[in-house]
């Protein structure tokens, strides 16, 4: 996809598409705009002012209220769970993808492993939550952050292996060959050749899986119960249940949980978008 290639046909005026495009932008932006301006209003003003007009004297009072309600702890929990699940998952998937590409032609075992991960793509997490709950109880990890980390890690693997092995396959065979001629081990080749050449894919996969785990709701809901182990989405839900009338504060909590993702998005946007279109647009 050479972005610089001029395509006269596509830049023609497309009335219906344009209408849908701009209309959808409004549908996407209005609620987000509303979340942000409302979170800056004094909660008393919320009912008396026009909901779509920004507050005349914006306040951070709602954010202070949210932060005082243990959000720092939930934030820390979410960070631990996300890093604890995604970094090992991506590393393991990278190694597995490398093994499948390098050894798959000669090894039935590795082809079988590849098939297994492809099948794994079709397993919905929600459908196996009951046995996961049972396993977590049996290994006495119920109500710990580890209970969320382990299944999150496992379910990040199939897609990561698929995407990463597709990228490792694109590394020219000659490069592997010359590494071997120089006497490099497979482990050395993995880190000195495959790793730098697949870095964009690694970033894409890490951000995507990080997003999934950060936003995860089912696992924390089922595998934890004490407030000390709560992650952000669950905390949001509990907070909303508790302060449902204080809408500005609820929306401030929504903004706070989303800020780190938005920051990541701004940094890794290009890679994430092109990685997703490359992965599915075929």
């Amino acid at each position: 996809m050479a972005a610089s290639v001029k395509r006269p046909r596509l830049s023609q005026w497309n009335f219906l598409g344009g209408l849908a495009g701009w209309l959808w932008l409004a549908i996407v932006i209005v609620p987000i705009y509303w979340i942000v301006i409302t979170s800056l209003k004094v909660s008393g003003d919320y009912y008396s002012t026009n909901p779509l007009v920004p507050p005349t004297s914006p306040t951070l009072e709602n954010y202070r209220f949210v932060l005082e309600n243990d959000f720092v702890r939930y934030f820390t929990n979410s960070t631990i769970v996300t890093l604890g699940a995604v970094l090992p998952a991506v590393l393991m998937s990278f190694m597995a993808g490398y093994a499948i590409i390098r050894g798959g032609a000669a090894s039935r075992f590795l082809r079988g492993v590849n098939g297994l991960f492809l099948m794994g793509l079709a397993i919905p997490l929600q459908a196996v939550i009951i046995p996961i709950y049972l396993i977590i109880i049996k290994i006495q990890m119920y109500d710990t952050l580890g209970a969320i980390i382990l299944p999150s890690l496992a379910f990040a693997i199939p897609l990561s292996v698929l995407v990463l092995s597709n990228f490792i396959r694109d590394v020219p065979k000659e490069l592997f060959e010359s590494m071997r001629m120089d006497g490099a081990t497979e482990w050395g080749t993995l880190w000195r050749l495959a790793f730098p050449l697949t870095r964009p894919a690694l970033v894409t996969v890490t951000i995507y899986q990080g997003l999934t785990v950060w936003n995860g709701f089912v696992l924390p809901l089922i595998l934890t119960q004490s407030p000390e182990q709560r992650t952000l989405p669950l905390a949001l839900w509990e907070f909303q249940g508790q302060y449902s009338v204080n809408i500005p504060a609820v929306l401030a909590s929504v903004v706070l949980t989303t800020l780190p993702i938005l920051t990541l998005y701004v940094i890794g946007r290009r890679q994430l978008l092109s990685g997703l279109t490359a992965g599915f647009g075929k």
């Binding site: 996809m1 290639v5 001029k6 006269p8 046909r9 596509l10 497309n14 219906l16 849908a20 495009g21 996407v28 609620p31 009912y47 090992p88 998952a89 190694m95 597995a96 093994a99 390098r102 050894g103 798959g104 032609a105 000669a106 075992f109 492993v113 297994l116 079709a122 929600q126 459908a127 939550i129 009951i130 046995p131 396993i135 382990l150 496992a154 379910f155 693997i157 396959r169 065979k173 592997f176 497979e186 997003l211 950060w214 936003n215 709701f217 089912v218 952000l232 989405p233 949001l236 909303q240 809408i247 929306l251 929504v254 989303t258 993702i261 998005y265 997703l276 279109t277 647009g281 075929k282």
Partner: protein
């Protein structure tokens, strides 16, 4: 799915004697083990486990006891299961009907290489970054009949009891799903449209085909496989909607939005009946499998072949 193309053997034969064969497949196999073990323990074992648990009786506090076909009899005789299958089907069908045409339209629009459209794509993507819990909480506040947007703006048509009316609540679920996922599918279609060779449109223009005609005779047929990919993700994904429905309506009002995953959660973790809940989970897995395979057949056998062949 293709494994590494077996083009390598030739250089391997010429490898110096004593070096491990085929890049030393024996020496790389171990690298697959950590991922394999992690995925087996928390992916494959639970998958087998859910089938086994559907033939047992277990109420969280007690031990797991074999119960034969009891759970299946309970679940299959229960009108609630049929109802939740129906709700799941409605959500699936309507969210497909809403999302597909809009995603194609926006995807075609975004496919054009213009700077402002790239900026639009960045903004479109934001809903996909939010957790479903956050989105549902926002819409719950936004649609509140007394304190929501409709009430404070004084707009009659927005002042409905959105989440209190069975039909409206289902509509809200479909809308919120679309709000989050249309951007994602638009991006898939954008990628698909960009792969259509410009030459086809040039030929059509020479033949005097208008834009509408071009869309229906070239764009849409060429997007066949993209449509199948996107529809598979939509349809199979909609089977497992849980976070969104649970936070937005908790399956209500009554059981109006109680889709399969919600029904499973309620039976298992609220009513303490893990056996029947596991049976529902098995039904969920089977539905997903059947739908995914069915849609794949629609794509024909030679999905790997390029749809651009002969151009």
């Amino acid at each position: 799915m293709t494994i590494a193309p077996p083009l390598a053997p030739a250089p391997v034969e010429t490898a110096p004697p004593g070096s491990k064969l085929a890049g030393g497949s024996g020496s790389v196999s171990w690298m697959a083990w950590p991922a394999l073990i992690a995925f087996t323990l928390f992916g494959l074992v639970p998958l087998v486990g859910v089938f086994l648990l559907s033939f047992t009786e277990w109420n969280i506090s007690g031990a797991v006891k074999p119960a034969g076909l009891d759970s299946w009899r309970t679940v299959l005789a229960d009108p609630d299961l049929l109802h939740s299958l129906w709700v799941t089907f409605l959500i699936m069908a309507f969210s497909w009907l809403v999302q597909t045409p809009l995603s194609i339209l926006i995807g075609v629009f975004l496919a054009s290489h213009q700077r402002y459209r790239a900026v639009l794509a960045v903004l479109y993507f934001i809903p996909l970054l939010l957790s479903q819990a956050a989105i549902s909480i926002t819409y719950k506040a936004l649609l509140d009949p007394n304190f929501g947007l409709g009430a404070s703006l004084g707009w009659e048509f927005l002042q409905q009891d959105w989440l209190g009316d069975p039909v409206l609540a289902l509509g809200v679920v479909v809308f919120v799903v679309s709000w989050q996922f249309i951007p994602f599918h638009s991006l898939i279609y954008q990628g698909g449209v960009r792969q259509i060779p410009t030459s086809m449109y040039e030929a059509a223009q020479i033949d005097g085909a208008g834009r509408i005609r071009q869309f229906f005779s070239i764009t849409l047929p060429q997007l066949k496989y993209t449509i199948i990919t996107s529809s598979t993700l939509m349809v199979v994904g909609s089977l497992t909607f849980f976070d969104l429905i649970w936070v937005l309506t908790a399956g209500g009002p009554g059981d109006a939005t109680s889709a399969l995953a919600v029904e499973m959660y309620q039976r298992g973790f609220k009513a303490n009946l893990m056996g029947p809940a596991s049976a529902i989970a098995v039904i969920l897995v089977l539905c997903g499998l059947v739908l995914a395979l069915g849609l794949r057949r629609l794509g024909g056998r030679n999905q790997a072949d390029s749809q651009l062949e002969g151009v």
